[in-house]
């Protein structure tokens, strides 16, 4: 695969890591040109926010196909989700006793709602990295960040009170994809860039006149729930 020139992205990453509560839009990129509002996280503190921005940027990086998690507003999406019934655990059965050592195939057995899981996991991961590298996640170089993410995914970073770092990684990756592909009303998928990447027509939801044309490219771009065209 052709190596993508990531110098602009690097600049962006640094801006995130050093900015105070601001998500700075990248000037000159058509996908983000009109997105000038600055999002102030409502749930995450600064350390958590920096972590989310840096790690989602690695999960879905910007490349020749267009913007990644940052341009799509994935961190904003995740932050907003933390205060919903989902984030606060109201969609989960959250009564004890808890058996966090149960077999993974028996599903989510954490004693924490998703938003608490984020808080506990991020603090512990940064603490672990501080001891190992004398840096927090956002300050590591890209290669080390990816190495750490692979360890998180494999479950080898010890987290107290959480079944496994895999559980946290899977939750984060799931939420990241949700933020990249859900309707823009939730704060992510800005300019419907996730849908445009795939060719998904969004909320059109009426293919009566196209069902008889198998194998033909669908001619219309996406619309969102607000009725806006992408």
């Amino acid at each position: 695969m052709k190596k993508y020139d990531s110098s602009r992205r690097k600049f962006m990453q640094i801006s995130i890591a050093t900015s105070t509560m601001l998500l700075i839009p990248r000037a000159g990129f058509s996908q983000t040109q009109n997105h000038n509002e600055m999002y102030v996280p409502q749930f995450f503190n600064q350390e958590e926010w920096n972590f989310i921005c840096a790690i989602t940027d690695q999960l879905i990086p910007e490349d020749e196909l267009g913007g990644g998690a940052i341009a799509a507003g994935v961190p904003e999406f995740i932050d907003r989700q933390m205060l919903t019934d989902y984030g606060t655990g109201a969609l989960f059965y959250m009564s004890g006793p808890y058996h966090i050592d149960a077999l993974p195939t028996l599903g989510y057995q954490e004693q924490y709602a998703p938003n608490e899981l984020y808080q506990h996991a991020i603090a512990q991961i940064n603490h672990y990295l501080q001891q190992k590298y004398q840096k927090q996640f956002p300050d590591l170089d890209a290669e080390t960040q990816i190495l750490v993410m692979k360890e998180l995914e494999a479950g080898t970073i010890p987290l107290q009170g959480i079944s496994s770092s895999t559980t946290f990684f899977n939750l984060l990756w799931k939420n990241t994809q949700e933020g990249f592909f859900s309707d823009p009303k939730y704060g992510g998928n800005k300019q419907m860039m996730g849908w445009k990447l795939l060719g998904f027509p969004g909320a059109r939801a009426d293919f009566m006149d196209f069902v008889d044309k198998p194998g033909k490219p669908y001619p219309y771009g996406p619309v969102n729930l607000a009725g806006k065209r992408g």
Binding site: Y86, A90, L103, W173, F207, P214
Partner: protein, 594 residues
Amino acid sequence: MLTKKAQKTMPKTDVVVIGLGWTGAIMSKELVDAGLKVVALERGDHRPTSEGAAYPGIADELSHVQRFRLFQRMKNSTVTIRYNDESEAVPYRQLGSFYLGEHVGGCGFHWNGMTWRALPEDLQIRSKYIEKYGEDFIPKESTIQDYPVTYEELEPHFEMFENVCGTSGQAGNLNGKIIEGGNPFESPRANDYPNEPLKTLYSGNIFKNAAKKLGLHPFPIPASNASKPFTNPYGVRLGPCNYCGFCEDFGCYMYSKASPQTTILPALIPDPNFELRTQSEVIKINTNDAKDRATGVTYVDKNGDLVFQPADMVLLCAFQIHNVRLLLVSKIGEPYNPQTGNGVVGKNFAYQYNTSATIYLKEGAINNPFIGAGASGTVIDDFNGLNFDHREGNFIGGAYIAATNTGGRPIAQTHTAPGTPNWGAGWKQGKKEGYQRTISLNAEGSVLSYKDAYIDLDPTYTDRFGIPLARMTFNWHDNEYRQGDYMAKQLTKICEAMENVESFSVQKITGDWDTRNYQSTHITGGAITGDSPKNSVVNKYLQSWDIPNLFIYGASAFPQNLSYNPTGLVGALAYHSAKAIKERYLSNPGPLVK
């Protein structure tokens, strides 16, 4: 809560219905039409199409699929799960492998619409397999048993349910005459489907050609999505399916996919003999001291008050697992004991076993996966029921194999190209390529019932009222693993015969039941039907053996799980029961089977 005395008693009614999903709606309508007063108690909210499925809000994958908008709030109640008797069960804290419904319409509001008639051998599994293969062919640990009702008896009731749903399909066997393009293995039908089949989609065409090349028999999936405007026997009008791609997990804004909302409730709710009370959760079926008569039900109303509703007949129409739990907490019938094999309530819990193939098409293929419906697809029945020789695979049961396009929704329904990293650089490229070029096949398989697969009450975990949760003890058995091996071979042959394929992979279940990944909501058993009180909870009319004025509907009646989606059989069994109640029970209330 269970031992508290009700604060309020309502006026007595002829019939009280617990849960207003498919069977609650069918039975309410049939009995109101017979002149009875019916009160339906629904723990969730009323959710007409105009509110629960309005466009464009319905076209929202995040809220419906990822955040379970239409399903049970797990916070309030769930089940616990363990793999065997020796281990401790843990709560099913988040919906995964199967979804539990809530609200008016129940799972019938957000199902896919696949509407099958059972094969004769699905209903007489033990005797038909013994007849063909001998007694030794049945695994020793299996507790499969015949239904006490035959296909021939249910035929008119399957037809009634299809007519109510406006089911779209192609008959394969009309009164014994095999019809080209339909399912040649289906049991004889008196009449064709009420609507012509849905259109064949891109993936269905590729699958169809490959299946034909192999001498198999592809046909359109019978779909309760009206393929054209349709008026059903209750005078309710359905709109035509527009292939919007938002079926399963969603209500149908087109009024096309059959649900109680689109087929029955508009004719039922205005009836002065019918009353619906929402946010009314039944916690107990009350009985007399002799435990041979139900006196009514106790429920918690929307204010949190405990209310007694007296009734002459009690119809238990909640979802499978809720039916079983309500019997157990109400102490009706003898709970099943896996050590002795005695007792019947909770016995024969079963599920479904799926095998699948993911096919990556050549560059330039355009599947347009967003054009679809939950039940729009092409299917073969060649490896289901007794339609093939089971000696090669050495297992009982079977699977249908289908290619469906259900909607290509980007969060949960997209694949990546083979070799794509799980995340990071290269993931986007793989996602983009995989979107249009991937199709998949699914072999939805039957599951036998077993001595060690059952439902009882959990000793530790409770719901929001402090009532014990139902506990599932279940895992796969060797018979199903062998089914997976056999279906994987068939899927491989089909994939190899397909045109335009760059690569494919076949997935079969190994190891433990994985409760995290959605498989199907087709959980069955626990209040099974049979020919004697020794082997079953209900008789052929779904009437409790112990309590003749209690009837129990839904897939809890299945003695084992068939390959087919259960709703067609659930509907037919309800209409079969309704006929017996109207024609025999009402004039002489008592056991319908002596």
